[in-house]
């Protein structure tokens, strides 16, 4: 792929950029729309134009095309996103949680946990953290966003790890970084350069094996939870070190090589043995 095509709203997408390998219909992602010629003119054709500014991204496998626009926007809940929410207060049926500080509270059913019944439901207090999936977003004004920590079809916490997050610490990162971390952690990271330009987690994982490894949960709402409960004495130090690595990589857009350097430097500074 040569230099990526940056589009502004109203720009037409040149047909040579569209995936043409597949006979399946083209799938349009966000930031694009299909326009047709007004009926009065003679040439009957369709064009694709951008509606947002960003890079054109094509996926030949899925025969999809979309625009990658500004990554660091406010988080807007979308169905199936994994988020880290903080319980604000609870009511008989729901926990009312905060996903982003500027949005109204979202609700999480008291029974929406793996194996929860009226008697065994988790007793979450104010300030507790949950890792949850967005179940539904309402429509229109005053719509409520609902979270769940369980797959309603199976009754299991899918993917694993949904539910109450105990211990550890939460760090704020940008939404763009959160998306990259999710991609990096969800795919098998065998590549040399890491996925989405991130090697920081792999590097940390290798280096912190001695202190017992760590757990991490990434929320699309720009939060990342880190825990090193196996680390014994070094647990707190290691947690903070991971958080510092992630936020620094986020703020300074470090390249893979720099990320490796950063990890070594921070671990050295914090006197964590590797």
């Amino acid at each position: 792929m040569s230099s990526p095509l940056v589009l502004l709203p109203g720009d037409e997408i040149p047909s040579e950029y569209l995936p043409s390998t597949n006979s399946a219909p083209l799938r349009l992602g966000p930031g694009l729309r299909l326009l047709s010629q007004p009926p009065s003119s003679s040439a009957p054709s369709h064009v694709l134009t951008a509606t947002q500014a960003g890079i054109l991204s094509t996926d030949n496998k899925k025969n999809a095309v979309s625009i990658l626009s500004a990554p660091n926007r406010r988080y807007i809940p979308t169905v199936n996103d994994l988020v880290i929410a903080q319980v604000h207060h609870s009511s008989p049926d729901y926990f009312h949680c905060m996903v982003t500080p500027q949005a109204p509270h979202v609700v999480l059913g008291q029974l929406a946990f793996e194996g929860a019944t009226k008697k065994t439901r988790p007793m979450l207090k104010q300030g507790d953290l949950v890792y949850a999936r967005v179940l539904s977003v309402g429509l229109g004004a005053g719509a409520e966003v609902e979270l769940t920590c369980v797959n309603p079809a199976t009754g299991k916490a899918e993917p694993g790890g949904l539910g109450h997050l105990t211990g550890g610490m939460v760090f704020d990162i940008s939404n763009g970084m959160a998306a990259r971390l999710m991609r990096a952690s969800s795919s098998s990271a065998d590549q040399q350069d890491g996925v989405a330009g991130l090697v920081v987690l792999d590097e940390l994982g290798k280096k912190l094996e001695k202190v017992g490894g760590f757990e991490i949960a990434v929320g699309r709402n720009g939060k990342v939870w880190v825990d090193c409960s196996n680390g014994g004495d070094a647990a707190v130090k290691a947690t903070v070190a991971i958080g510092r690595c992630l936020t620094t990589v986020d703020q300074h857009d470090l390249s893979p090589a720099d990320q490796k350097k950063l990890v070594s430097r921070i671990l050295r500074e914090m006197k964590i043995e590797v």
Binding site: L34, L35, S36, Q37, P38, S40, S41, T49
Partner: protein
């Protein structure tokens, strides 16, 4: 007997409410076979303005007032003049070494022709603007249209209209600063000076001017008239700006300021209560505002995603379409119903000097239909409208 299906015909008034766009479109584009001209839902031709009437002097305790009615839009304007003594202007003594500059100005005025003076009075603009001698305010009163609730703060529309009026008063320099100055000639000439001053304004008598320079005493501005121009839209049925501006214009033409003089002993400004001594404002020109809305045939343009043609292509399409189907109409003086259906608006304020049309303000916003040729037509329509409004204002 089979029950007849309930009739689906609607009276026109209901159809207009349910399908406003289709209703107006059907009027504007009658079937070719019917051989009817394109006409708006309110019975006007696209370039036709509503019936306009004006009445001045109806408010008795103002210095000037007018009621202007454009169709169902009615604007009442009252002009109240108040004295602003220069002693009350904090920055006056610092920023204006008044006497000298005014004398210079007078020399200029005397040597040059009237026309010249009109063009270059350096204090004119700064006095009126810096001292805020013109204070227009527009209010959309409760009940003028269904959306206006009692007790609400001035709406954004009212505020922006006030600003437009103020801006236009300044940019057209409609009111002369000279009319608003209250002069004082120190005693060697006594009370005559003011009179002379006024006379000079009117007739530009040479020898009097020179006589004045000789006397060594300098005339001084002691006070200003501040004109509070209050416009109230009593009834709003679209296009408030044209009506408001016409009302302001008519009220200012009607405004009479009493003769004011400086009483040295009491250090106050004294106004004469003789009607015969009051003088009218000498306005510069007669700018007339005309507003337009653009109605687009394709109501679903916002819904249906169609390619917006480039400006060049558009021009070709437009030329091609001239014979066939019209896609958009420029509606002069849109009423409330039409305003709700047109996104693109234009407003042109024109004046005529020696038969030549001068544009003093031209704005268009909200769309891309009006350009080059179409705007030129709009200006021509406004120029014709100028004649109309002029005769209306002169009759009242």
């Amino acid at each position: 007997m089979a029950s007849t299906a309930p009739s689906l015909t609607l009276p026109p008034s209901q159809f207009a409410r349910l399908q406003p766009h289709a209703y107006l479109l059907a009027h504007l584009s009658p079937p070719a076979s019917s051989n009817q001209p394109s006409i708006r839902a309110n019975g006007r031709a696209p370039a036709q303005f509503r019936v306009t009437s004006a009445n001045t002097g109806s408010l008795t305790h103002t210095n000037g007032s007018a009621v202007v009615r454009v169709g169902d839009t009615t604007a009442v304007c009252g002009v109240r003049a108040e004295i602003l003594p220069t002693d009350d202007i904090a920055s006056w003594s610092v920023s204006h070494t008044s006497s000298r500059t005014t004398n210079k100005r007078q020399k200029l005025a005397n040597s040059d022709s009237e026309e010249q003076q009109e063009e270059e009075d350096p204090n004119d603009k700064s006095h009126i603007q810096d001292l805020n001698l013109l204070v227009p305010n527009l209010s959309l009163s409760t009940g003028c249209a269904p959306g206006f609730i009692p007790g609400a703060p001035p709406s954004a529309l009212a505020q922006s209209l006030s600003h437009q009026i103020l801006n236009l008063l300044h940019s057209t320099r409609l009111v002369r600063a000279e009319d608003l100055r209250v002069w004082y000639q120190p005693p060697s000439l006594g009370g005559e000076s003011l009179e002379r001053h006024n006379a000079e304004e009117q007739m530009d008598v040479d020898d009097e001017g020179t006589g004045k320079e000789d006397d060594g005493e300098k005339a001084e501005v002691k006070a200003f008239w501040v004109l509070y121009i209050d416009v109230m839209i009593v009834s709003l049925a679209g296009n408030p700006f044209d009506a408001a501006w016409a009302a302001v214009l008519a009220a200012l033409r009607d405004t009479k300021l009493p003769k004011a003089s400086w009483d040295v002993d009491n250090e106050i400004v004294v106004c004469s209560d003789k009607v015969s001594e009051a003088r009218k404002l000498a306005l510069r020109g007669l700018p007339v505002a005309s507003s337009f809305g653009v109605f687009e045939a394709d109501a679903a343009a916002g819904w249906r995603a169609v390619i917006v043609p480039d400006a060049e292509e558009e021009r070709l399409i437009e030329e091609g379409a001239r014979k066939g189907i019209q896609r958009r109409w420029v509606l002069a003086d849109p009423d409330g119903y039409e305003e709700g259906l047109s996104q693109e608006r234009a407003c042109v304020v024109v004046d005529k000097k020696q038969g030549k049309t001068v544009i003093v303000k031209m704005e268009k916003n909200g769309g891309w239909a009006l350009d080059g040729q179409a705007l030129k037509e709009v200006v021509e329509i406004s120029a014709r409208r100028w004649e109309e409004v002029k005769s209306i204002l002169e009759q009242c």
